[in-house]
Symmetry: C2
Subunit: 350 residues, 2 copies
């Protein structure tokens, strides 16, 4: 298969981990005779430093021409505590999601048996956890009108959803549930929010076309509890943008390491794959960051293009590195493997 891939290393540890994912993709190319073309561009804080814009037009063009985007990480603390900053690295990512129409963020939450002891939760609670969160990614309060009055004393954000925005991701989520444990949980706050009531109405209606899937509802506050109390009960969680941001990060820690979790962001004509961890600026340039989440996002990319055997090989090679303890120090204090050594091991295994 021929694929044009845009590489967006971004900030912090982004470049280091992305480089390992590329190594693995190259190993897959060799093993299976594929031909992937990689082109790189800047995004985030580094793009602001170089061009003044967190998402330069040239970067956006590159992504639009590509078959898919492989993303590193974004964010730099120097922008976080300046409420007056006019440009922010994160805006590059948000604009990219919007411009590429990546309306569904898909985050699997799994427990790796070798890492079960790393979880903050008790073993009996996380055994068998295997769910996936479908988070709406281009609507809601993230993209609604933002206002601040002239005096700077009143500020607002609008959370708006249309039927169409809900429908398209609901179909994806129901299809996923159909191929999994056949259970879909809509998380909302329908006892308070008008937009949540629209979600409930639209999702209920669409559910009628998927009679084999059981649909249930959870208020977001209750969901935040159940993810800790009974995570094994979940199959597919569907939710709006802001709730998805919170719950998927909460879900990400129960498996024992956020350094292992990947996500896919899907639209009609494009797709972006990234680790769910942040730019972790403290570790930048030290060759200690865990590359596995980035490598697994490459596996999700392969699956997206139907290259299931290839993806499986990547996943098995990751499992091997976990089994053999070829891991960065975040997973094992005593380990002395670097980011690139772990990447080399996995690529070599492929």
């Amino acid at each position: 298969m021929n694929l044009k891939l845009a590489l967006l290393p971004g900030d912090g540890i982004g470049p280091e981990v992305l480089a390992q994912a590329v190594k693995c993709l190259q190993a897959v190319e060799e093993a299976f005779g594929h031909n992937f073309v990689y082109r790189e561009a800047v995004v985030g804080a580094i793009a602001i430093d170089k061009t003044g814009d967190p998402l330069p037009q040239s970067t956006l063009d590159l992504c639009q021409e590509a078959d898919a985007v492989l993303f590193g990480a974004i964010g730099d603390p120097k922008f976080d505590n300046d409420p007056n900053a006019k440009v922010r690295p994160e805006h590059g990512l948000l604009k990219l999601r919007k411009e590429l129409g990546l309306y569904a963020n898909i985050r699997p939450v799994q427990v790796f048996p070798t890492l079960i002891d790393n979880s903050p939760l008790k073993k009996e609670i996380i055994t068998g956890v295997d769910f996936v969160i479908y988070r709406e990614l281009t609507g809601g309060i993230y993209f609604g009108e933002k206002k601040i009055n002239e005096a700077g004393t009143v500020a607002s954000d609008l959370c708006e959803y249309s039927e169409l925005e809900i429908e398209r991701i609901a179909h994806l989520a129901f299809k996923a549930a159909k191929n999994r444990k056949k259970r879909l949980t809509l998380v909302d706050k329908a006892n308070v929010l008008e937009s949540s009531r629209l979600w409930r109405k639209v999702v209920t209606k669409i559910g009628q076309s998927y009679p084999e899937v059981t649909l249930d509802f959870l208020f977001v506050d209750n969901a935040a509890m159940q993810i800790i109390l009974n995570p094994a009960l979940f199959d597919v969680i569907l939710t709006e943008n802001m709730f998805g941001d919170i719950l998927s990060d909460e879900g990400s820690v129960i498996g024992g390491s956020i350094g292992l979790l990947a996500s896919a962001s899907i639209g009609e004509n494009n797709a972006l794959f990234e680790p769910i961890h942040g730019s972790f600026p403290q570790a930048k340039g030290k060759d200690i960051a865990n590359p596995i989440a980035s490598i697994l996002s490459a596996a999700m990319l392969l699956e997206h293009f139907g290259l299931f055997e290839e993806a499986m090989l990547v996943r098995h090679s990751v499992d091997k590195s976990l089994e053999k303890g070829v891991v960065t120090p975040d997973l094992n204090n005593l380990s002395e493997y670097t980011t690139s050594q772990v990447g080399d091991f996995i690529a070599h295994t492929i």
Copy 2:
């Protein structure tokens, strides 16, 4: 001391648990020679059934005349899945908060040593956890303008905050931190939301008047992780209404039982005390609900009026019931004590 107390049992298990809290307050009256007058009114689903209004004017009047309100629980599943319901039990609670001006919801998160094994988190993670969440309660997306277009295809909720709304709760939270471990964490989403940036600006400014308190910031998605990974790091968490709803419920389960946690909602001229658990309709009328959260909300009420010795006695009596195993089955499968037996034991100990 003379106090006029409004009792709002509400729905589900509300009446049963509230009755135990009243028993304990009566025991305190006797032991210390106080004189509390109790008057009861309906709110929530039961008020809808009786009057068509989840917060009848007579109930509101009663609360406004009272020195404080003791609340049971609210909500009935028959309203939850009807997106077209015109009245909802929860609206009674929301209107009550707004009308009484209860702008600060205060939720302590503690770990009871006798219950440490009930927590879904590992012992080493929750040992020493002791923080308190200050949640803004009368602003934000809960009370901003709600819209739905005529076709019913686009719905929105506005999240708006003013400087004043942020200032008053920030002062309360800083004062609390000053008397505790001197650390305040503002949770927001300032990398995305305009309203969060206003929170960061105002809270930073107010922090200058509390130089002994260390102020730091966490994005809400990160906070949802840290509450599970490092809960012992927190002292006072300050946040807006919706984030507070989610995080305080998340925080509530780490201590091992939501049946033990109470909350206070404070305004200029009134205060309301309630368990943080819901109406738990499945348990209604069975005399099996855990009354301790309701009893501890009575203890918070006493503290609110400066009756610290009295509150301490209530807390010690609760500890005794935990130590002796005089608890409802939710805390111990083998226990056969009923709601009212636990209430009697604690009241008697007082």
